[in-house]
């Protein structure tokens, strides 16, 4: 069953507006938080074990405590550049409950002592941008933002900044570069953004869902939050399910929920007569799970890691047997090739190489060496670059080729490839 905590009131259209939001206990958490000490909030978030929902799963409270004790202005940035293929949870959160995000951001900003925050929103989300802009305006009008918020003495300003559609700007340092007006390229770490981020000031970058979850922690307290989820991955999470399921969409379930139940109970399973072939559990960068693994895995950070994959942004892409994995890999490689920023050599050249290889495998002009080469190239791109894009391109290749080797080799030995296409793929009517 779904556990609706964040998404509790998403079905109510008035929740979008400030009045509607206030009707359902809105901004009470802010009032409560402003009576606490900033360190107490950070401690609460740490205790609650809230892990970053953007992809890496780094504990948010720990990240906040990395901020150096100096006089520099601290910035809070909300990462709403939701670019991971298959992910669409942030969009729904912003569209349906912008004030939830804003409240969470003000509380977080209060906790880290930041006078200024930015929402870096994906360029394509212009509708969401309008909604969030309107919400910020409302918040300013009601003294929820600006100087001396609710007469607490805490001042906070918020701005929204639209990206230009680059996937890499969802990476926190890439986002900061873009926000600074530079080319959206990740920066070298160290120094980490918490020490030297936006304009060389300490900066905290958190995902929309992470920041919104802060309101839940304040409302329910540490124990209330930890009631859901597992010991190491507490809380609930939104999963964006897409692909060959009957009812795709966003589903909020506690972490540790079996993937099998998400697919077959919540999403209504696969189409008639089709078999589950594979599942990408955490956005396109996550290694793929084959049907067997997918049926047994629980959706939390640890269990997925033990299966060699990752939770990532929680984008579950369900693949049934009407799809060719080679074709799918080509589509993914096309994406990563297009989105590589071109800074680090292994990624810049490697993504292009992977695309060319998967193209030639798909077209049947490749041989078995090329399949091996695909793996070799990917394994040498892994963990070699500034940001994780090169890993994100390499993981699918490695998992696709190792878990669906027969399919790749059948393409590489051309006749069988044609046979595969004829029997498996084209027998289905697409769509």
């Amino acid at each position: 069953m779904e556990v609706k905590i964040l998404t509790q009131h998403y079905d109510k259209p008035e929740y979008k507006s400030l009045d509607g939001y206030k009707k359902y206990d809105g901004y009470n958490q802010l009032k409560k938080a402003l009576t606490l000490k900033p360190d107490e909030i950070t401690e609460m978030v740490k205790q609650a074990g809230l892990r970053g929902r953007g992809g890496a799963g780094f504990p948010a409270g720990v990240k906040w405590s990395f901020l150096p004790k100096n006089n520099k202005t601290r910035y809070l940035i909300c990462n709403a550049d939701e670019g991971e293929p298959g992910t669409f949870k942030d969009r729904e959160m912003m569209d349906k409950a912008p004030h939830q995000l804003i409240e969470g951001m003000i509380i977080s900003a209060f906790a880290i002592g930041s006078p200024k925050s930015y929402i870096y929103i994906r360029g394509e989300y212009f509708e969401s941008k309008k909604i969030v802009e309107q919400a910020i305006k409302e918040a300013y009008e009601n003294n929820l933002l600006g100087d001396n918020i609710l007469k607490s003495g805490f001042s906070h300003h918020m701005d929204i900044y639209s990206g230009a559609g680059a996937y890499i700007c969802g990476e926190e340092t890439g986002l900061i570069s873009s926000l600074e007006g530079k080319k959206g390229q990740p920066k070298l770490k160290p120094p980490f953004p918490a020490v030297e981020g936006y304009l060389a000031n300490p900066t905290i970058v958190n995902n929309v869902e992470t920041l919104a979850s802060v309101t839940v922690i304040i409302r329910d307290g540490v124990d209330g939050y930890r009631k859901h989820g597992t010991e190491k991955s507490p809380g609930t999470k939104l999963f964006s399910v897409s692909g060959n399921v009957v009812k795709p969409g966003n589903y909020e379930v506690p972490l540790g929920y079996p993937l099998k139940d998400i697919i077959f109970n919540l999403c209504g399973g696969l189409k008639e007569g089709r078999k589950l072939k594979a599942v990408i559990p955490g956005g396109s960068s996550a290694p793929v799970l084959n049907a067997e693994e997918a049926m047994s895995v629980n959706m939390d950070y640890e269990d997925l890691a033990s299966k060699g994959s990752m939770l990532g942004s929680g984008a579950i892409i369900v693949i049934d047997d009407s799809n060719s994995m080679v074709e799918l890999l080509k589509v993914l490689m096309n994406f990563y090739h297009h989105e590589s920023c071109g800074q680090c050599t292994p990624c810049r050249e490697g993504t292009g190489w992977l695309l060319k290889l998967s193209n030639s495998i798909l077209s049947g002009s490749a041989n078995l060496n090329d399949v091996a080469l695909l793996e070799k190239v990917a394994s040498h791109m892994k963990g070699k670059t500034i940001c994780a894009l090169s890993d994100a391109a390499a993981f699918p290749v490695l998992s696709f080729v190792s878990k669906f080797k027969e399919e790749f080799t059948s393409y590489a030995t051309s006749n069988v490839a044609l046979k595969f296409q004829a029997t498996n793929v084209q027998s289905y009517k697409r769509g």
């Binding site: 071109g342 800074q343 050599t345 490697g350 190489w353």
Partner: protein, 533 residues
Amino acid sequence: MSGKNEDLISCSVNGKTISVPKNTSAIKAFKIAEQDIAHYCYHPGLSVAGCCRLCMIEIEGNPRTQIACNTMVTEGMKINNQSKQIKEDVQWGLDFHLLNHPLDCPICDQAGECGLQDQYMKFGQYKPDMNQKKVKKAKVVSLGEKIVLDSERCILCSRCVRFTDEVSKTHELGIFNRGDKSEVGTFNGKELNNDYALNTVDICPVGALTSKDFRFKQRVWYLKKAEAICTGCSTGCSIYLDYNEEGFFRVRPKPNEDNNSYWMCDEGRDLYQHLNKEKRLVKVYPSKKVSTSNFAVSSSSSSSSSSSSSSSKKAIKYLKSELENIKDSTKIGVLVTGQYSVEDYKEFFSVLKEKNSINQIYHWFDQKNSKNDFDDLLIRGDKNPNTKGLLEVAKDMSLKVIDSSELKNTASNLEILIVLGPEYKKFFSTIDEKLEYFKQALQVFYFSSVKLDSLDSISNVTQIPLQSLVERGGTYINYKGLKQKLSILPQVIPKILSFSQIAKVLNGEKIQLEPLFLKTQPVKDNQFSFQKN
């Protein structure tokens, strides 16, 4: 970097224990420990970009490999790059670099001093797996008056971009597009024409940026490099002069932490032209007055340069006799630029002082530039490399230094004006003004290594050729008192007198003229023999 012990930390590089100053990056520690490490984007004079991903190292206790350029050495750190894993990573890193590299080494000017060639020979895997088509990009793009860009050869190390951002602060360059379509280029309407632009050619590890001036002139393996200093201004940058039997071909900055760090200005790169035959004063041009006298006949009868030594010897002997005739030392003027070495000044002045009791010199300083002009990087307003040395020598010899503008009043009284002329007429905007003074003096003896055409029309000037600065050698003192010694290089024009020889002739001593032909180089070895595995 202070030498205090508490600032030093010890670490181990490939098992070799060294002590390095605090805040040293691991790649510097490798250099200090003299261990090989592959790298492109790292340059000691620029910020760390960390994008070539070649300087991979293993740190003991850290499961992930790191890049050396962005890792700071800590006390007791054990780093190495000898493991099989790292070597394979570097091999693949190089393969990634070469993936879309056109390999047009035969046409590329960088071949022979190319980072890709050198490092592939050292670290590469020699069995490329690439079997796909390469990405095509723009070739032979002119980036301005000085530089040509070849985007295909570019490995996007971003050194040039960082140079224009951090050193020259002109921000002309940027990297455009994404992924493997990335290209270095200039921003709209801008050209890479700043005063330091050619440094980008030096720091480019491949042949993506090439200098229009040097392009296709020579293959670099034909060139020998000699250390020298630039005499284009009072900064006195350390440079390499590249030359061979055919002459001098280019000037590159030599890293010198005390003075010019890794850079030099573009003006100074013209230095080599002044050393080559084409711009040199190769023989004596006697004045109309002395052309009938004894020495001039021989020089005019044989205009070949081989006789220039004997004719300039004669010319100096003539100068000596003329000087002896003048009893009043105020009738003798000595006009000096700050372009000669300390030794030259000493030898020349001591003879004049001894023989003719000269007690004052005119200092020719280009008034167009203020002495204290400085562009906050390297270029200084004082276009003489040795103004400080000249003033010091004059002080030591208790010679009075008078500004050359005084000649306006005194020139007409002078019977002999000896000029140690400028070698860089480009920087001497007031030459024409000086020529007016020359006309007023009775006789002018003009010493220089560089031909000044406008002197030919003045009837009372005798031009005597000198060895060029790298043929003379000597010590130069720059603006901040840094003494730099120039080593002596082979002569481009044979049988031209040096300053010490001139001084000897003036002193009445006999000189032995060694026929100093340009030293022929030993037969070069085949430089393409390398050991495969």
